[in-house]
Amino acid sequence: MINFHAEKELKNFSYRVSFKSEAQITALFAPSGSGKTLTLQMIAGLQKPDRGEIEVNGKVLFCSQRGVNLPPQKRNVGYLFQDYALFPHMTVKENILFASKDKKLFTEIVELLEIADILEKYPEQISGGQKQRVALARAIMRRPEVLLLDEPFSALHKELKESLYRELLSIIKQFDQKAILVTHDFEEVLKLSQKVVILNRGKTVQEGTPVNVFMNPCNLKAAKLLGHSNFFKGKIISCKENFSEVMLKSGIKLKCRKRNDVKIGDSVFASILPYSLALSPSAESTRLTVLVKKINRDMRFTRINVEFEKENIEFFIPSSLSPNFIMEEGRTATIYLSADFVPVIPVVRTI
């Protein structure tokens, strides 16, 4: 259980972030320079907030009101640094045993992470993925209350990431470890975490379960951070059991994902996601006529750029399905959009 609230005046913005989480893995999602790493440093005791309270599993690590500020050594927080921070003058084995001399745990972790064959090597002699495993092993050795992961996968290529995701998850499960993952890749959030907190310029924008947050962004800014890119303004005209209907200014009606916090008459943005194409018409799909601008086929996915309402939209479809869409560049085509993949975003008046 993590209870975080901190304020700090910084050069470019004032940092004010609060969140609570009981999830096994909590993701902090934000563009760079939003205070993600700062948040981890505050939990680890490497940065001091001006005000606030930080509590992990019932232990108060920092509380400005009561004057509590435990040094990093007393917090028992595991920190996986973005550049791994392995000690260059120590072998892999020495690096791991630096954290704790527990031989039994050492053997267990080494086996689990499959690093037995590199124990006598120095950090500069091993690959990025191996460094990552060693840093993880070292951080886990103290059985920390919470494991802080600072963009651990950003420097690695895609195939390696996938296998490291699995390893990380198995370690976390095996040791029943709580973790906070900092990332700017929402794929990672969806794959690894049960809860996400979105930050922007030092403020909490939204929090919730990853799918829920992704499909129900609280405002346009959050939607953009999440990677939504095609927005069409309109008004909710009906709320059905499985979808709600949005009428655009041009009179076109879009069937959209149902959302509880909007009602008939509300101004909203309909966000057409790139993977919203449906295979065939159904009660929950919208039929649209669009102008096909460009088709990019590769072996697995085909990217189709179309013009709709004078805006450019990009769709992805598996290349194996593309014969189902009879499309040609420069011609109009009829497509079906699945309502569940067209989220609505409330228009929030900015104060």
Partner: protein
């Protein structure tokens, strides 16, 4: 061509003085270099300037100031005389003080930049792994900055061996007491005894090359 007893004494004395002052410089300079590298405190720049002074002052000026400070009537000299019943002026301790002061800024500057170049994340990593500042310093910071610190020591030793101006001011030129190699060479040349000067010069050359060579080998061992 053999060294006469006086010249031999000067070689022994120089080695003794340089070794002791290198140790003094290490023990006093390393904490200061670490402080400079990691902390912000009031008058940091002023202290930095004071430490650097011996590097820019003419050695005779440094020596003269030390003489004023440590002489029987100096602020510090009077105190030392009262406590230890002996002074440092015109003794080999004087030579140690002069060499230490001359070598101090060289060591502090070199060690500081070596300590500063240690990645802060490594220090933070050690802290989050439960290690205190002292343990982190000896197990992480110092081993990583080792080469720079050793380089600082080599330069300090060399500076101490070569110290002339301040030593002459503070310790004087007393045969069998304070005649370090540079002073002995100076005396030999003033007496027109060039053979003696040449011999001592050769000794200095051999000494310097040996020290640098040994230390380079030492610092290379143990790291990949």
């Amino acid at each position: 061509m053999v060294l006469d007893p006086e010249a031999l004494f000067s070689v022994e004395l120089s080695l003794k003085v340089a070794t002791v002052s290198t140790v003094v410089v290490l023990l006093t300079g390393l904490p200061l270099a670490y402080l400079f590298a990691t902390r912000e405190f009031p008058f940091k720049n002023l202290l930095d300037a004071v430490v650097t002074l011996p590097l820019v002052f003419p050695p005779t000026v440094t020596g003269y100031l030390l003489l004023l400070l440590l002489g029987k009537n100096g602020i510090l000299g009077e105190f030392i005389y009262r406590v230890f019943k002996t002074g440092v002026v015109f003794t080999w301790y004087g030579a140690v003080v002069a060499s230490s002061v001359a070598a101090f800024p060289i060591f502090v500057k070199t060690a500081r930049s070596a300590l500063e170049s240690v990645d802060k994340n490594l220090i933070h990593a050690a802290y989050t792994l439960g290690k205190g500042e002292l343990e982190t310093f000896f197990r992480v910071v110092l081993p990583i900055a080792k080469r720079g610190v050793i380089a600082g020591l080599v330069l300090s030793f060399a500076r101490a061996i070569g110290e002339f101006g301040a030593t002459l001011m503070l310790a004087g030129n007393i045969p069998f007491k304070t005649n370090t190699i540079p002073i002995e060479i100076y005396s030999a040349v003033s007496d027109g005894n060039f053979e003696r000067a040449n011999l001592l010069t050769a000794v200095v050359a051999v000494l310097s090359i040996t020290v640098i060579f040994t230390v380079n080998r030492l610092s290379r061992r143990g790291t990949p």
